[in-house]
Subunit: 432 residues, 2 copies
């Protein structure tokens, strides 16, 4: 079994170890929730101060030109593009993931309608992140289509048929960490005549993505998870160049216009992906996002996303090894795919009976010890398929092997000492 | 004619003069562009630093609870509500003005369809801010409706007929500063069986607004103009309580769900206005917005919006008096309503021939002298009705009477010395 000393050696030999110095991590904390909210880069405060004091405070309105505010959505988009297999000018930062989903699903449905008017289905997974499903519900209702939710990955092939208009998947599942094979799934959907939208919320900055290589149709993603853009950071949106100019997207705001500062009454969409911008971007949050993206790009000189992925797999493999060898007898069970190819940068555990309902309290007890993971409730109607889970994200930029060892040690202590029984850990008032 | 000495006395006697101390204004600048981007409040930097360093950097994900992030859209919404005649819980901060327009116009069209399926028209003004028209174009196309644009306020009464579904107006016109009589126009539209949406982008924090008193149906507004929320600050949205719960709005993101952290696959809208939230808000920009709104609320102890309006009228009247008496012979003409009741907190000027085309260069020459206004091009096809304009916003929170005097003095010098003829002022590269 891997020892703490082994972990220290792994950390010393880690070619990515210097990347951690980019962050202000809270002392005494092992932060395994970067898949919910990434940590604070050291560069962010200074950059946001500069935007506030100089660009806004002193230069005011002229910063749209002099500080390049108007170009920020594209400039940051080009940086994110390098992480997800997109080319310069193909990807833009705008709004939230939910809103970008609305844009791309609207566009995909319109293409599907023109190319195959008999196709009446949108397919996704019941375990997809809810906002994806809520947006799909809204558009299905508006367009007289049906949203079909599959309960497992094995049901997807049967759903790829002549009725399918759009397949909408999150590449790495927010709950289980299950990772789809983007290229294979996309090809299968295309073979069935359907379009595919990929949500990269748990992919961008965590696993290598190759949107053009997979011939994907549309993609959206989140700025505040593995990209470390800060709470509620703006999201991003990509459209395959063959689709980008085919239609307006319906959220036709003034900054997506071909010439926004001519203030003409008729909408003329900007060329390419820029038409997916809508209103004025939240500049302070946008500036912070760029600092976060830069922390991931800093890995480019030492192996890039491939090196980050290699370390991510090593971290999650180690966590699984230690959790299973040390905690299986305490009622802990792996709830993420064991195959590293099918797993993102997170690992979920579930608790066997009689501990199953203690999951929330176990996470609270871990948090009290400085190990930050999170709890996601299962489906009460089908807990066997969708159990309560303890969710742990492993961000290779700032998590080390000794952190993984220590996290499991804390979990052992919480379970052995039954710390989760303390009343304060069982008060469910929290929102996250 | 009012002298500089008179202006100094007016400033000394101004009961609102202390409010200026809330801001870090750039030295040597007279900023008459707060109707485009409000200035930086002194409190903002410290507050955003706190959000970055403590709430994000140290407390990370738990700040959704401990720092009240989850409640911010409603908390700031309740503050803005006090400025626009809305009650607590009726108004929420979310997304951009463009996106909020999409939400409320979608809802209004759905109500109109149920209540009067033969109504096929959306009416607005051709001179409305373009994003309003672009969003209306998009929704008109989706719903098989027609967008009818009137060319002048006098054409509105004829448009209030049995075909009208929704009248969508910006209370204070972004170009001319023309201010509609919200209560009268709303009543007339209601008498015709139509709904009314008000865009308060140039109203909130600038003129007293009474949404409930006017019996308006929906409203949206901007956070980065008179509310001083910072570049691209989140916007706000209000729905009359009788409408708020009637439908989903189509941008049904997870944070508008009744129980977002239960992560259920079916969308159930939150009660009331909270369903108009969509995705995760841009927290840094949201925190800055609150500081901006607080600068306006600081006037509540010394007369509130009524006192701000009184000063705003005095400032714009003074500007008109001085500009007409000193610059009329130099080719300057008032392009905003002369009647103070029909005017927001801005004044526009146009230039007679042969100077008309020099408007852009005149603004650049004024900027070089430290007087920040902006230029808005006219409609080349009908310059008589819609001329090029020099646009000046007067924010009573931080503009004084001596500032107005000095601004006109600079305009006199620019015109007398023909400074606008300098080549550098004629290079049109700017975006704003």
């Amino acid at each position: 079994m891997t020892t703490k000393q082994d972990c220290d050696v792994l950390d010393q030999e880690d070619p990515l170890r210097e990347l951690k110095l980019q962050f202000d991590l809270p002392v005494g904390t092992i932060y395994l929730d970067g898949n919910s909210l990434g940590v604070l880069p050291r560069a962010t405060l200074g950059r946001v101060q500069e935007v506030i004091q100089k660009e806004w405070g002193q230069d005011l309105i002229k910063s749209w030109n002099s500080a390049g505010w108007i170009d920020l959505p594209g400039r940051i988009g080009d940086k994110i593009a390098r992480l997800v297999g997109a080319r310069p000018g193909e990807l833009i930062v705008a709004d939230s993931t939910s809103l970008n989903l609305y844009k791309v699903l609207s566009a995909a449905l319109r293409i599907a309608k023109e190319d195959g008017p008999t196709r009446k289905l949108i397919v996704s997974e019941r375990s997809n992140f809810p906002t994806d499903l809520y947006i799909a519900q809204s558009l299905a209702e508006q367009h007289g289509l049906r949203l079909h939710l599959v309960d497992g990955v094995d049901e997807i092939p049967a759903a790829l048929n002549s009725e399918l208009a759009v397949l909408m998947l999150t590449e790495v599942n927010y709950r289980t960490g299950y990772r789809h094979d983007m290229k294979t799934v996309t090809a299968a959907a295309h073979a069935a005549g359907a379009l595919v939208i990929w949500d990269l919320a748990h992919s961008a900055g965590a696993v290598p993505v190759d949107l053009n290589g997979a011939d994907a149709d549309f993609a959206v993603g989140c700025g505040y998870k593995y990209l470390n853009g800060g709470p509620g950071a703006p999201a991003f949106v990509w459209a395959h160049p063959k689709h980008a100019e085919r239609f307006w997207q319906p959220l036709s705001g003034w900054l997506g216009h071909a010439a926004p500062f001519q203030f003409t009454p008729d909408y003329q969409p900007a060329a390419g992906i820029k038409r997916y911008i809508c209103g004025t971007p939240a500049l302070l949050s946008l500036a912070a996002l760029e600092c976060g993206v830069d922390t991931v790009l800093a890995a480019e000189a030492i192996g890039g996303m491939a090196a980050l992925r290699k370390k991510s797999i090593a971290l999650t493999e180690l966590f699984i090894e230690l959790a299973e060898s040390r905690c299986a007898s305490l009622g802990v069970r792996l709830a993420s795919p064991r195959d590293e190819l099918q797993r993102g940068s997170q690992v979920c555990l579930s608790l066997d009976e009689p501990l199953h309902e203690a999951g929330y309290a176990v996470i609270q007890a871990l948090i009290a010890r400085g190990v930050i993971g999170d709890f996601r409730a299962g489906d009460p109607a089908r807990l066997k398929d969708m159990p309560h889970i303890l969710r742990f994200g492993f961000t290779p930029l700032y998590i080390g092997f000794a952190d993984v060892y220590d996290a499991v040690e804390h979990l052992v202590q919480v379970l052995k000492n039954k710390e989760w029984q303390r009343p304060e850990f069982n008060e469910k008032g929290a929102v996250t």
